[in-house]
Symmetry: D3
Subunit: 295 residues, 6 copies
């Protein structure tokens, strides 16, 4: 059984706050519409009496970290405004297989029509939270934080970033507009790290941080001579990474990136790097299995 949430994420919200709801409802609505098409749920409409109410539970079929219950709640509420949805294990909780994490009472039709949409959301988000928690646990004992990337599923970023937080990770940029991250291609076109950083500094507002991707110790030295806030040490072996972290010596934030497999996380974390970013936790985390049991 994995550690129950590490101290640093104890304060995390276990439900989506209002502004998130404004963002999430359109996604859930679109997911329902994608499933019911234009003809509606032929099976449930034919078989289930219109006035019948039913009760069900969302139950884990594997061990992991639950996430996405508020999105699931919306799926049932959009189908049946009188639906009652009780969270039994809050987002971010570690659960074993067989744990009921939420209980729903609503019309039988809404229950079965909304089932797949709700489970698709919970399974994916819990998969991400679980993968994140795995990396967080592997980095335990170091000060390295696990952070996500922009390699998220198109359309679901707000939820997937939330899942990372529920897993104990931290969020990197939400998008292209909340920080400057100068990557190899920018440098190639700008001609040099220096010209790229200077252009960015001249344009960015005072609340914007600048991070620069470097691939070699030499590039690192160039970057450290400039007014930057963080360096992304990309695709370095563990030894090079450790040396680079020592070179930085705390002057800017250090982030390790590239080929961050679970097998390698602990070693990377022990280099002293501040952050370890992983695309894998969002783009390739296997879904965590959940089912809907009718009570």
């Amino acid at each position: 059984m994995p550690s129950d949430r590490s101290p640093r994420c104890r304060a995390l919200p276990n439900s989506l706050t209002a502004p998130h709801r404004l963002l999430v409802e359109p996604l859930v609505r679109a997911a329902l519409l994608e499933d019911i098409g234009h003809g509606g749920d032929l099976t449930s409409d034919a078989i289930l009496p219109i006035d019948l109410r039913a009760q069900g539970s969302i139950v884990s079929r594997a061990q992991g970290v639950v996430c996405g219950l508020d999105a699931a709640r919306l799926a049932f509420e959009l189908l049946d405004p009188s639906a009652e949805f009780h969270v039994l294990r809050t987002d971010g909780s570690s659960v074993d297989a067989g744990t009921a994490v939420a209980r729903i009472r609503c019309s039988a039709r809404a229950l079965l029509t909304g089932e797949r949409t709700a489970l698709n959301l919970v399974c994916r988000l819990s998969g991400i939270a679980t993968a994140t928690r795995r990396l967080v646990d592997l980095a335990a004992g170091t000060h390295a934080q696990i952070v996500c990337t922009r390699k998220t599923t198109p359309g679901l970023r707000v939820l997937e970033k939330y899942a990372v937080r529920c897993g104990g990770g931290f969020n990197h940029r939400f998008g292209l507009d909340d920080a400057v991250l100068i990557k190899d291609n920018h440098i190639a076109i700008a001609g040099s790290i220096q010209s790229a950083v200077e252009a960015a500094r001249a344009r960015a507002g005072h609340m914007i941080k600048i991070e620069v991707e470097v691939d070699t110790p030499d590039q690192l030295l160039q970057a450290l001579a400039l007014p930057i806030d963080a360096v992304l040490l990309d695709n370095m072996d563990t030894e090079t990474l450790r040396a680079c972290v020592q070179t930085v010596a705390g002057r800017v934030v250090t982030e390790a990136s590239g080929s961050i497999s679970p097998e390698r996380v602990a070693a990377v974390a022990r280099t002293g790097v501040d952050l370890i970013s992983s695309g894998w936790i969002t783009h390739s985390a296997p879904a965590m299995d959940f089912g809907l049991d009718i009570a």
Copy 2:
């Protein structure tokens, strides 16, 4: 190197047809907006001259089946209507690592701003196509078709179903409205398989097929006595499955479902079942890695 597309998928389209484009453009637009937020691409806007044009290639970083190039094309065209996007390897092609699958020429800003959105789409869809192809190849030599489920990513079903086809698989229901699938929970509430099927038959139009999920040979016998088109043999071991297929004896379509791992697919296929449905190919297929190389 995996087989190049099996005969049955040679006729598959390698680009999205017009009606799909109507469905896909909103998804790509939303994905771009999710990434550029309200402030735009701070980095590219600061560093790249507004009139500079650039050229890049989408290059595979792993072996697999490419998918999603038309969605990627839209990402660049929406940012720069003058973008030129040349497909080098059509959707559904097997490629080795290091293969350029598309070449783009557009404004440098559009190229770097659209990069992540385009790659997120291609990586995910190619991951699905690759996972599907893997199962298809494992079932080679039998007549079993690999089919997907409704366990798709909320909002991306139309693309993920397409990726399954590009991998050589077939689509099951697109949603709740194009066929009747009577599952255990429907039966439980209806009281019996018979009453559920009768209710569905009385309501469904003449173009709607009915499939029934059965968990045991006994349930199968009940189902076969009713006017149905297919049976979903759920979570059966290989021996039971084979026996059930023999019981059916071609009277209805047979579908195996549940715990369909790559390890088990070949054995399942050899039971003689018509279809093998897999949620794994859409909900847990790892992304296939692609990058954007500036030329």
Copy 3:
């Protein structure tokens, strides 16, 4: 007075279920916005005190089958969330002129502002239900079902298909994506019925049925030799139709189509055909008149 609903539609829902509501609310909202424009209801806003509440009834002005009350309910609820809407005669009921079918209590402004939108919906949908019921009654005593087509009003298909069900009819395809219907133009381009059916069979999933349109007994024979589920016997005179039904002899579903006037329905039904499809019930059914009486 027409028959009260034939036995086969007794089980029909008399209110829209949850997933339909997700589809219908945007239509009703758009209809209201189309009517109130940007300036709002100049007349009611000027004349009616903002706090005044009022009560009204939707009353039939003709004999027919009522349909669309849930859509009408939404019109008032969207304008006044505290609106009370009581259904007095459920969708699918046969009513005489002068029957109050629903009673509304809400703000006076909402009542008069929503009146036209609500009535436009009820009048059109009841017109369709009434026309359908007329054909259903004319085919009474045969086993022929009346089915609709895709000749529906752009934007209102989900409601018009529902109205057909309320009239005792059945739905054909909801759209292009839930079944294959091979028509003359497809055959012309494919070269033959055989090549068209084979192409469709190779691509369609196992839950998809295939219907072929045939215009002559000769084409029928070609079609019957292929793996199809239904034949659409198009524009045939009654004698030819009867002969074709006998040729089919129950091997596939038979559907008669083309020039299905009320005058001819009974004769067509007596040919033994399974289905009679009518575009007239959706594209040309005259509206059934309803008014709003202030109580």
Copy 4:
């Protein structure tokens, strides 16, 4: 054969102008999406080669007034941006059965996928234009104009109002926000015609006209004493109508409404009334039949 457009509509546009296009494209897009669902056109995608181009004509199957060709054009252009659409008979033209009114050249898939949506629009709008023209012709020789009402199909008002103009009619209010029309229910709640008109006059801007519905000669006298612009003479027999028109004596615009059947239009027009409004031309006009012939 009906008259070719009466002089007063010679100046009517025969294509939608730019602002209308902004309004119409979303309607056509929604209509296409309603038809292609999420799975796309299963039949055409399976049978028609992706690169095949085809040509077809929209051909009338009945006599009447054509309308809606620009909306049809959009249906094909949205599916295939390279579609060529040639108008052969402009909106508002009287045509006999068998007349090709437009020719389309585009991908074969777009042609067959868009066919139904395009025809649904043209058939409905031409039905309205034809019904309008019929009333216009029946009122020929008088100065009475035929005007439409707000009894239009939810979502399609902008197109249906256009169809009325193409038929030679004139538009009444577009919605609740472009003029004041005080109806019986407003008067009932306001207490008197006088108080209703005074309230409206006090609130309405200087560009807003006021019309009052009156049911009796006595009400007409009350209304004429107030600062109004028009009277709607509702549900009066021909004699009463003629008397009322004489009472008005040109001081305000007169409009006859209620029970305006084709049978009665000529007699109503000869009363000298300025306008004859008809809900029938929009809510109950039978569709005019058109088909798509592949060339």
Copy 5:
């Protein structure tokens, strides 16, 4: 302290009616989404406990006319459906600096997250209402009405037109579709005032008024010979304006326009003109300052 609402606006609504709400909610929702971006309110989410409720007041920081409280209410309700919003001074009220105009009780996060959106709306709309009231007061003692123009903020017209009414002004056209206003450019292209008016009269429905812009007494004479409803006397000095009003002698409505500064309004009003239109009250009115005080 300015006059409390002049008699003519006593009957004005002090809250938005239902149809307006349908129009306003999308605006407020979009404004919130624009502010919370995709990441949400980083500050409030980090600092404020999720379950904490708080209370605040919207307090004027200047003297003026309050407007927009219903829009502000929506901002909080969209973030927290359980929010309580009490209006203390209704829209249209004159208030001194330091007046609490509304009290809100909701979650602390919703309060601080919604604060800026709510205030942005109230400050802008109150600024417009205040500017309008200033002109209305300056024209007191004459019969001239202050009217707004179409020079409103893109996207906010429905609210800004409402603010003008709350300030005691009247609305001119809501848009291009509710009346005909023939301006200099139309005349230039049409060739003459006469041809422009005749074209408009031939096309406009009977509920549409026609106003003509004239720049000189000579043009006025041309216009008065035609069937028009109003003249816009554009950019005339006070003497010319007075002469034109006398020429009109009440035959049509007269409107003065152009360079309507507060300094000049009284003189313009004393010319006897019916209407004085001002773009300044919507495009350049300074915001009225309000703050949110936590209680």
Copy 6:
């Protein structure tokens, strides 16, 4: 005549880049739809021949800084895809009254229908750019930058932030999600500056900066002891401000805010503060007058 753009804004874009276009087109489309309503431009449609093309120029009627031409371009292009729009003076240019800043050639109807929407955008945005430039010029000779706030027009923030940049200013936060700004109300609820900063620091990702609002020198000292990036010195008189800047001594960024009138800007800038933020430049800048001259 104001300075032509200060050196620091020479590099500013003078047209919106692709991602901005994705954000701006919906705004312009909505603005057009708001103006044309459902009936379209009654005046232009009646008077201007459908095929007539025309040419016009957008001409300044005052001195100032032009901004918004790309938004104006979209207004005409959305109405007439064949419109040609030539920028004569790029966004950010200082112009005198009477300067043609853009020339348009398109259909006469599109020109007059789009005129008001285009001008409303250009007048507002140029007003903001002009007001910003005024403050920038007043702060010339110091190192203080002028920055905007979130006090923007609901729905137009992306454009108004751009106008500030065109005026030579810099952008503060785009929204609540790109940086932490701890204000008085947050501190009040959190209990102390320290607890608020610690909570924010514990939750914020590494790319997020933290700024704290302080009202007194004492609060400043508390803030400086904490890990923050900037202080907002709110509503301080010039002397206090100068003292606070000296206290900070460059350790964090300093921002002056509150009551920043043009009269006071120079004095504030001379205190040595890094940034001066002004709500006035967005919420109360008077529109800069532009007109459309038909050529």
